[in-house]
Amino acid sequence: MAIHSVVCVKQVPDTTQVRIDPDTGSLIRAGIPSVINPFDLHAVEAALRLRDEHGGTITALSMGPPQAEESLRKVLGFGVDRAVLLTDRAFAGADTLATTYALAAAIRRIAADQPVDLVICGKQSIDGDTGQVGPGLARRLDLSQVTYICELESLDSDAGIIRAWRQLENGRELLEARLPAALTITETCNRIRYASLPDMIAASDKAIETWGMNEIEVERDHLGLKGSPTRVSKIFAPPVRQRGEIIIAADSSPAAAAAAVMDRLAERGITFDEGDG
């Protein structure tokens, strides 16, 4: 049985490049490039591997401003079959609850064309860092929920069963889930492939479907900021620790510098002279 996967991808500011203005303490957003959320690329890869093995199709779905088309085009370059961009001013300001509301409606429409077996997301986005969209979609669409997958063990497409390992703090567990399922994928789950040139060329001509709120079945009140229970009440720079004592090793010697620091630690009650402690 061929598998139809919907992969959710988000275009995010590259937070590794975000800087704080030391004078104003504000976020420097200017010039921060937008990238595909890196975890979502692992989700795409997971879908591609399942398709390699079992056949089927992959639909990429994103919600964001029109520029998010860039990310979808990159995903198409990996050989994804179809791409849908949810874009509408009504979606703006959505928290994760309002986001999953709109995404779920879009997935229902995609499923109307072709039944969906898997909804695959990255474990979290690097800008929001919440990890709430995958589980949220599982609940809204009544899918089996398997999150933080570190290894996809097997898929029995005929029986409609998927097995996956997920990483916990104290170990890892193997879960078995009935399809349709919602999966979230961690970076250790796979290595992202190097897309082939023909796929990349083909992607540049492929159409990206753009849906607004009128293209999906939604109520205006549940969308965007209006449909979001949370509000950001304040944004501020993290408090900074005070700069301490700086020792220039070249002024004395490495040994003297090390001894000086060990003395300071001893003054604060931290010693390591109790044998092999």
């Binding site: 010039g31 190097y194 082939s196 040139l197 060329i201």
Partner: protein, 439 residues
């Protein structure tokens, strides 16, 4: 060449352009605009992400490629004042040319960030129908019967064929060498430029550089930019950042076992400079080579099925910071040549020699030929600008105004200008020497 098991992708491309810098993008835009099916292959995440320049683009050549570009392109500031600082030892001689005309259409020049400008230009090329392939390194050329027929990339199934390949790979001419066109790279013809982008509030920039709101300044510093070391420095104003950098001939750098960033630190610490950038916080550090071999350093510019444009073709006017201009224009001419070749149905060297004709008749080559005679800097004439300020202004205006006149034509113009003011013999000599050095 035996392609082995790798079956080249037949994307039915008329042309492949290697490299998403000013030369490659100008070529791609022109080809797509001319109805060719063209693929641009760029190794960075987006065209521009690997690119670096001081930060000045000129209106005239850019609008030859994209008319009225200033209406949409991501620009920093239109430059209304250019200053030239001549430094010898502790002293600095400054000459400024300021024009409000430069702040209005069609403008003279803008400060830009390559990473953003090139991304925009790639978008324009895509809108014209070009295929833009990023994150893909071209490793080699494909040959058939002594003719370039495509490129080999590092991607799976990564061979791609086309009738013509325009190499716009930038200053490190890997492919140009593989095409057998390069004459090799010499340390005395390469300059290393390092630059920092420093954040400074708009108002501070306008105040310190004495600018009207929204307009910009470009300072070129030549001579001994730091104690005893020859090099060039530059300071450009952007919207809310200042670009500051130094360039030094690699040979000089290596001979002295020096470090370019150390030079930049010393340049920044000079009181004249420090005043401008005090309190600014760093945003980016970049390094790039500039091919300063000029006309002498140019490779063969075309072969069977292949053309070379921009930095890869050593098309840089070292003194006047005009690499991007020449890149844009040469890329455009390479594209025009390919469009013509498409009409003829032949992509042999003979047909592509049209590229050479276009270049030779343009200011690109005229200027580069002029620069063959460049002598080391005009430190022997430090009095020039101070003695003849009015003339200096006129000279600077002509020198700094980039238009379709080649530098040789301008020399005539300036000579007439100077004569009309009944100069002394000495002045003429000074002027002439200065021109030899500056142009």
């Amino acid at each position: 060449m035996n392609l082995g098991d790798r079956k080249p992708v037949d994307g039915n491309f008329d042309a492949i352009v290697v490299g998403g810098g000013p030369a490659g993008l100008s070529a791609t835009y022109t080809l797509a605009g001319g109805g060719a099916r063209v693929a641009l292959i760029e190794r960075g995440d987006w065209p521009g992400s690997k690119n670096m320049m001081g930060g000045l683009i000129f209106s005239q050549p850019t609008s030859e490629v994209v008319p009225g570009f200033w209406k949409q392109a991501p620009l920093e500031r239109p430059v209304t004042r250019r200053e030239m600082w001549l430094t010898t030892g502790d002293s600095v001689l400054k000459a400024a040319y300021e024009s409000d005309d430069f702040g209005a259409e069609p403008y003279n020049s803008f400060t830009v960030f390559r990473s953003r400008f090139d991304k925009w230009l790639a978008g324009e090329a895509r809108a014209k129908g070009a295929v833009i392939i990023t994150e893909t390194l071209v490793e080699d050329l494909l040959w058939e019967n002594g003719r370039v027929v495509g490129v080999r990339t590092s991607r799976p199934e990564g061979d791609l064929e086309a009738d013509a390949v325009i190499i716009a790979e930038g200053v490190n001419p890997f492919l140009t060498e593989k095409a057998g066109l390069s004459r090799g790279v010499k340390a005395d013809s390469m300059a290393l430029a390092v630059k920092e982008v420093l954040a400074l509030p708009k108002e501070k920039i306008e105040d310190r550089f004495n600018l009207n709101e929204g307009t910009g300044a470009a300072y070129e510093v030549v001579g001994e930019i730091t104690g005893g070391t020859p090099g060039t420095g530059f300071i450009y104003t952007n919207k809310d950042t200042v670009s500051i950098g130094v360039g030094i001939i690699l040979k000089d750098l290596v001979t002295r076992a020096g470090a370019a960033y150390a030079l930049l630190e010393r340049f920044k610490a000079q009181p004249q400079v420090q005043r401008l950038i005090a309190g600014a916080s760093p945003r980016e550090y970049t390094a790039h080579l500039i091919p300063e071999g000029g006309y002498q350093g140019m490779p063969r510019l075309y072969g069977n099925g292949v053309l070379v444009a921009g930095d890869a073709a050593s098309m840089v006017n070292a003194v006047n910071t005009e690499g991007a201009n020449l890149a844009l224009l040469s890329g455009r001419m390479a594209a025009q040549t390919v469009l013509r070749a498409m009409d003829c149905g032949s992509f042999e060297s003979l047909t592509l020699s049209h590229y050479g004709d276009l270049l030779n008749n343009s200011l690109v080559i005229k200027d580069l030929k002029q620069y063959q005679k460049v002598t080391p800097f005009l430190s022997s004439h430090p009095h020039f600008f101070s003695l003849y300020p009015e003339l200096a202004s006129a000279v600077l205006k002509e020198f700094l105004t980039v238009d379709s006149l080649s530098k040789a034509d301008k020399l005539h113009l300036i000579t007439r200008l100077v004569r009309s003011q009944q100069p002394t013999k000495k002045l003429l000599k000074d002027l002439y020497d200065t021109w030899k050095a500056l142009s």
